[in-house]
Amino acid sequence: MNNIIEISGLNVMHGDLRALADVSMNIESGKIVSIIGANGAGKSTLLNTIMGVHAPAAGAIRFEGRDITKMRTSKIASLGLAMTPEGSRVFADMSVMENLLMGAYLPGAKKAKAGQLEKVYDMFPVLKEKSAQLASFLSGGQRQMLSIARAIMMNPKVIICDEISLGLAPVIIHDIYAKVKELNAEGITFLLVEQEIKRSLRHADYSYVMVKGRVVMEGKSSGLSREAVSDAYFGINQFA
């Protein structure tokens, strides 16, 4: 088995609050892995900790065997980890084109810039249409696409997506997941965060269920039943 990301015994504190408790995960290379959980389960904290935005109190994160636990976020990104954060966070005062070029900031990505740009314009024709417009004029769905496209511009090995479907129409969600599959077929590993159990199990190869900062269930998506996940997800949560 070839794990591209290995997380072991991760603990993260937000002040006095324990946001992550002893989280361990193995993300297999070339797969789509999803993390399911309700609001406040610690999913975003986990993603941000992987990317070095939060510093863990204990535990280790390895990327391709290399310890990245205490690395600076920009350094982690340069190793080939891209993240689309919650709420897309496009640069509103830059054009769509400039946003995409920001994705190609790192030297490796800069070399592949022309080809990648063509690729994302192919995937998301609407971005090509609006390439000269300010990103602030895009709709929510288009911003999400721009965020993903910007991540692709980084030419990454792994794309980490925080709630890419949040607040989007079903048609657009469907569209975005289709692109995820497409990119995955090219060899990019995906780590997704989802609130919706059904969607998660349908698209991901492997799923983790998180409740209150802990991993309470994991397994191949094909081997997990919706009911079981639902029980884990709600069963404990109900009394929270």
């Binding site: 600076r72 976020t73 920009s74 891209a82 966070r89 005062d93 830059m94 900031y105 990505a109 910007r150």
Partner: protein, 291 residues
């Protein structure tokens, strides 16, 4: 009074150019790291003293003096940003503000220790030359050069900010630090580069100021207020606004002095600034004001 008004307007606008280049570095630092650099005036005067000293002890050519000054100032910028300001920039506005305040005191007193309290000038033939001379209006070559250099620096900076990958990265870092880091941009490095850009403009401004006006180790504070005025009027972080801000401040001072009396030139400038601050706390031309 009326006969001298055209002269006041011309000089006011040209002086505004000089003010703009004094303020541009402060505007950059504020726009990029939301820091009000209290040491800005002193950093500029440090540049002035270095240019003067190097020019005097070496070739006598102020341009070579300026280039060597910039080299030294770049190292200085790296040091203060990397070892001091970057350490506190994430801990809220106050600590960073106080650090630059400390720097301001250190620089002005160090200059006093080295150069004494005397008034100095950087001699230049530009001061005594006139570009245009008519019955009513004359344009000093010095003021004209300052204005042209200011415009050139502002245009160059705008090009860097809007057309280059480096400029985009700086803009990205200023609008969303975390997202920029996620894209591989080391925001602390960007802050260092921004401080370096700032000292380059401050060194140029410092040389022009040193040629135009007498200076001494504590002059920096006076120029800090001018720089602050320029960026407040023009809108913090806006490059073009800096030029407009400089011209408004220069005009207010000289036209005001023309109407009320030359002794009140500085006082009028400050009062205009206070009024603008009170009426439009976010600046006349800032984004918030435009909305």
């Amino acid at each position: 009074m009326l006969e001298t008004l055209p002269q006041a307007i011309v000089t006011g606008v040209l002086l505004g150019g000089l003010y703009a280049i004094i303020g541009i570095g402060m505007s950059l630092i504020f726009g990029i790291m939301k820091l009000t650099n209290i040491a800005h005036g002193d950093i500029m005067i440090l540049g002035t003293f270095l240019t003067m000293h190097i020019t005097q002890s070496l070739t006598g050519n102020p341009i070579i003096g300026l280039l060597l000054t910039i080299a030294i100032m770049l190292a200085f910028a790296f040091a203060i940003q990397n070892f001091l300001i970057n350490k506190v920039i994430t801990k809220g506005a106050e600590p960073a503000l106080l650090v630059t305040f400390g720097l301001s005191i250190i620089i002005s007193n160090a200059l006093f220790l080295v150069f004494g309290a005397n008034t100095h000038t950087i001699p230049s033939t530009l001061v005594t030359t006139n570009l245009i001379r008519t019955a009513h209006v004359s344009v000093s070559m010095m003021y004209a050069v300052s204005f042209i250099v200011a415009v050139a620096v502002i245009v160059a900076l705008s090009l860097v900010m809007n057309r280059t990958s480096f400029g985009r990265a700086i803009r990205a870092a200023s609008s969303d630090t975390v997202m920029s880091e996620l894209l591989g941009i080391n925001t602390k490095h960007m802050y260092i580069f921004a401080m370096m850009l700032t000292v380059v403009t401050a060194s140029i401004a410092g040389m022009l100021v040193g040629m135009t006006f007498p200076f001494y180790p504590t002059t920096g504070t006076q120029y800090l207020i001018i720089a602050f005025g320029v960026v407040v009027i023009g809108g913090m972080g806006s490059l073009l606004g800096t030029l407009v801000g400089g011209i408004i401040l220069g005009l207010a001072q000289l036209v005001g002095a023309n109407l009320i009396g030359a002794t009140y030139q500085q006082l009028i400038g400050f009062i205009v600034l206070l009024v603008i601050l009170a009426v439009r706390p976010q600046g006349l031309l800032s984004k918030a004001a435009r909305k």
